[in-house]
Symmetry: C2
Subunit: 242 residues, 2 copies
């Protein structure tokens, strides 16, 4: 039975799993679960992931969710995955875990939170709170600074590696989520982080052509969202809402 | 050179690492880093963990932070750690990773966030925002419900296990953090979750006497904090601040 990957390409964690599978030549079936239509709450999907989030996989009897757990599982369970994605050396592996764990409450909380509260919530008629918007942008800026000055201090990839790991893939897909912001906010937030921008290009090259292929849907949505945000006069600038 | 564990027993992730080391008879030196005094920002400590958070370990040349990464590293690197803490079976190990990953943006964000914004911030003269307090309590309540109805659905320990894993230890220390709330808030929030309360007792028994020993400082602090909160008239009830 072929591996099933339940994913929404608008979700950063979903994209990291899809790019990983494609880059490593893993045979899989992509099951589209459209989050903005609430498909993650259907009884069929909740039988796979009772938390109602994407991505999730079904591999034989195993149903698994949380993208980092999925990336680790696939790195170990699928023969032929190159070892740089999830190194066997205990100290190198520990560093990958450290980056992945740091991600959740820092870069993901900041980037995912800012995109949700400043873009997806207003565009979809949900309420957003100024204090939460300010807090998430602060978390994002601190996280980008740590990404630039700690994780990318010593090398081309995170933690001083010369080749990408699953942590690079996960965090790069998260930074790409910022493409949904207005062009002005995107440049205001990202421009100071030269190493981060270079690193995204390095991940793109290392996973070509799949990085662009899987992100295509994000860029299509970016266009539609930016048009919608223009109709919310003055609301296409995060700062203007604070 | 003996393993160094840099920790503050008021931090849930620190406690999980300390209890794990003690329960597994790991030889280590505890280096106290007092977060409320800002010791995590000292140049000496930032040379170990540039993120300025606890816990962190130093094992020979390896400097490692993020408690889940530390627990996984110690489970693999230290001979004699019982396999139930971090199972070798790929599907069981994947489940442990899934629970650990889920923890960050759900139970930890809810419990840690609520304790910080409702107790530690006001007691230490920092500003707290009602919207953020409401948001963190909502995240906590949803997380406790998932803990009760998903992770504890099928067994004594998380994910249907008969013996505890590092995920049980990490999440149990987080729930214990709620002891810092007022007695009234603690009971209001925890009382509906019978399985969660029973599971905490099971972890306490499985790691005796170290669970109580390491939590002793939390209970001492609870007394002082509750006395301080009474002097903030009407502020010892989370609801009253919303």
């Amino acid at each position: 039975m072929v591996l099933k990957v339940c994913a929404d390409r608008l979700s950063a964690p979903s994209r990291s799993v899809l790019i990983f599978c494609k880059k490593n030549g893993i045979d899989f079936e992509e099951i589209v679960v459209t989050v903005l239509k609430g498909h993650q709450f259907s009884p069929e999907y909740k039988a796979i992931n009772p938390m109602g989030q994407v991505p999730a996989i079904v591999d034989g009897k195993l149903k698994l969710f949380e993208s980092h757990a999925i990336l680790i599982y696939l790195s170990c369970a699928i023969p032929g995955v190159a070892s740089h994605w999830y190194p066997g050396d205990p100290a190198k592996r520990a560093k990958v875990h450290s980056i992945l764990d740091w991600h959740h409450l820092h870069l993901r909380r900041g980037a995912g939170g800012l995109v949700f509260h400043s873009i997806l919530a207003p565009v979809n008629g949900m309420r957003s709170y100024p204090e939460i918007l300010i807090q998430t942008e602060e978390i994002l800026l601190r996280s980008l600074s740590k990404l630039e000055n700690v994780w990318l201090k010593d090398g081309r990839f995170l933690g001083g590696s010369t080749q990408p790991s699953i942590a690079d893939l996960s965090l790069a897909c998260e930074v790409m989520q910022l493409e949904l912001l207005s062009e002005r906010d995107y440049h205001r937030i990202l421009t100071p982080y030269k190493k981060v921008k270079k690193w995204i290009e390095d991940i793109r090259s290392a996973t070509a052509p799949y990085f662009d292929e899987v992100h295509e849907h994000l860029f299509e949505s970016q266009k539609g969202i930016r048009e919608k945000m223009v109709t919310h006069s003055g609301k296409n600038n995060v700062r203007s809402k604070m």
